[in-house]
Subunit: 298 residues, 2 copies
């Protein structure tokens, strides 16, 4: 059996999966802050998963984490939301704590691998629409991590000089307009319901403001899709991350925006971006499953 | 010996090269318009090259051409500047005319291969700053052409909603601000001198307007570099195409703009984009040489 952990800014989700990619069990805990604290919480998740699985998972454990991950050294940079210091020896510490090898990768990379396996694809761009915006690329069957592990960091490409300032220090970054936090800022949900759900429900009920906000947000996600398509041209672009939990209506809204963008451009139209858009599976934790697949003997 | 042709909107440049990538001879003619006309002119170039080389080049001939090239079928789409119709059987027609197999690829792809060979690199993004703007990607030693042969078409990614309308039908495309034609529009050269040369000379001579225009243009090229770096993260980005003929001062100006963009962003600064910028070799026709390498037995 395989074991994978998806470590995010708010939660750590661990799964046990079969070699065929079927999720057999999962454990979820809140994310603490700080390298040692995250390692300890992750080790607890591993122990719980092992207990539930009867301790049969002794292979390499795969872990996805936000930031620029050096896979060879098992370290991460810019994992600011988790308070993990640049160069903190994450894989080594977690490996020592759980007594088995750990392979660390970027969380969007893990999710892309999971989505590729579940959807049966070998060439795709994965858009992680979570708190932030990141992409991951599986090109002709191989993860493209990049020379400095920064492939897919499209959230920090500026696309509007008149846009808002980004936390990264630049202005008008795609992430400030096409991410879960951007959506929450556009449509604050008072109800405790996720902002995406509230927005898409209100739009479906005919609220004109909600329709306008939804379409504006979908157009910015379409910008991200077009950017990935015109740079690496993956066969398929998969929409994932927390925002994708609103379901297929997200894909429909973004496909509509892509068709509008292409209306005046025969060149764009010929690339059929709306037809190449997919939604990540909603009922499976794709990032944790993809992390588990990272540890699979090849 | 190898033979390669770089077919552009204004000229066809053919070279004969050694298997080691040394250019042994070249022929240049003006580009006609229309599929049959371009094939006939290309066949003339092949005949001249063969005559000069004493007819010893009988292997596969590589050809680079602007547009979305289907390498398997030897056809091209969107080669609008050459008047070649979508789906025109270019490889088959040229192959029949010259009596040997022809392999067709996108001209920026060919140039990227040429630059990779000349600079000894196996992971690079190549920016072709010609009439238009296109990129090409050699990732871990392999050309990334894309699922629909559209990888590297970054010229048609909009980066400013307030920007000019692009010929492709969209608004604010990168190509309208970071290409040879954008530069010529910013700094019309009355002298017959290339616009880039005139602009960089005037800026070097202290003309304040020229300095401002040069820096604005360099900032838009820096946008293109950053976009490629944050999407696929190649080890090196190479500046090529006609605009690069102004020499290393282009690299210096763009590196300066990249450093300015990163000044407010620790994240960008950590990626050291200025230090990863290179200029394509000026004294070698990189696209024609890369085309020749396309035909090299592997």
């Amino acid at each position: 059996m395989l074991m994978g952990l998806d470590i995010g800014a708010t939660k750590i989700l661990g799964v046990v999966a079969s070699a065929q990619g079927e999720v057999l069990g999962s454990v979820r805990v809140a994310s603490p802050s700080g390298g040692d604290q995250v390692v300890a919480a992750a080790a607890d998740v591993v122990a719980e998963l092992r207990a539930a699985a009867g301790d049969r998972t002794t292979g390499v454990i795969g872990v996805g984490i936000p930031g620029l991950v050096d896979v060879a050294h098992g370290t991460v940079r810019h994992a600011v939301n988790l308070g993990v210091a640049d160069g903190y020896p994450f894989s080594a510490r977690l490996g020592a704590a759980v007594g088995t090898a750990v392979v660390l990768d970027n969380d969007a990379n893990a999710a892309a691998l999971g989505a590729a396996a579940l959807l049966g694809l070998d060439d795709l761009g994965y858009l992680s629409l979570g708190t932030g915006l990141a992409a991951a690329l599986v090109l002709e069957g191989r993860l493209r991590r990049g020379a400095q592990n920064a492939a897919g960091e499209i959230g920090h490409i500026p696309v509007d000089p008149a846009g808002p300032r980004c936390e990264c220090g630049q202005v008008g970054c795609l992430e400030t307009m096409a991410s879960g936090s951007a959506l929450a800022a556009l449509w604050p949900s008072g109800s405790g319901q996720p902002a995406g759900q509230a927005l898409f429900d209100a739009a479906a009920a005919g609220d004109a403001d909600a329709v306008a906000v939804r379409d504006r947000f979908a157009a910015r996600v379409a910008d991200a899709v077009r950017l990935v398509a015109l740079t690496v041209d993956p066969a398929v672009v998969v929409l994932g991350g927390g925002v994708a939990q609103v379901g297929d209506r997200l894909r429909v809204a973004v496909a509509h925006a892509l068709a509008e963008q292409a209306a005046a451009s025969p060149f764009l139209r010929s690339l059929d971006l709306p037809g190449r858009l997919r939604l990540a599976p909603l009922d499976v934790p794709v990032a944790a499953l993809g992390a588990a697949l990272l540890g699979k003997p090849s």
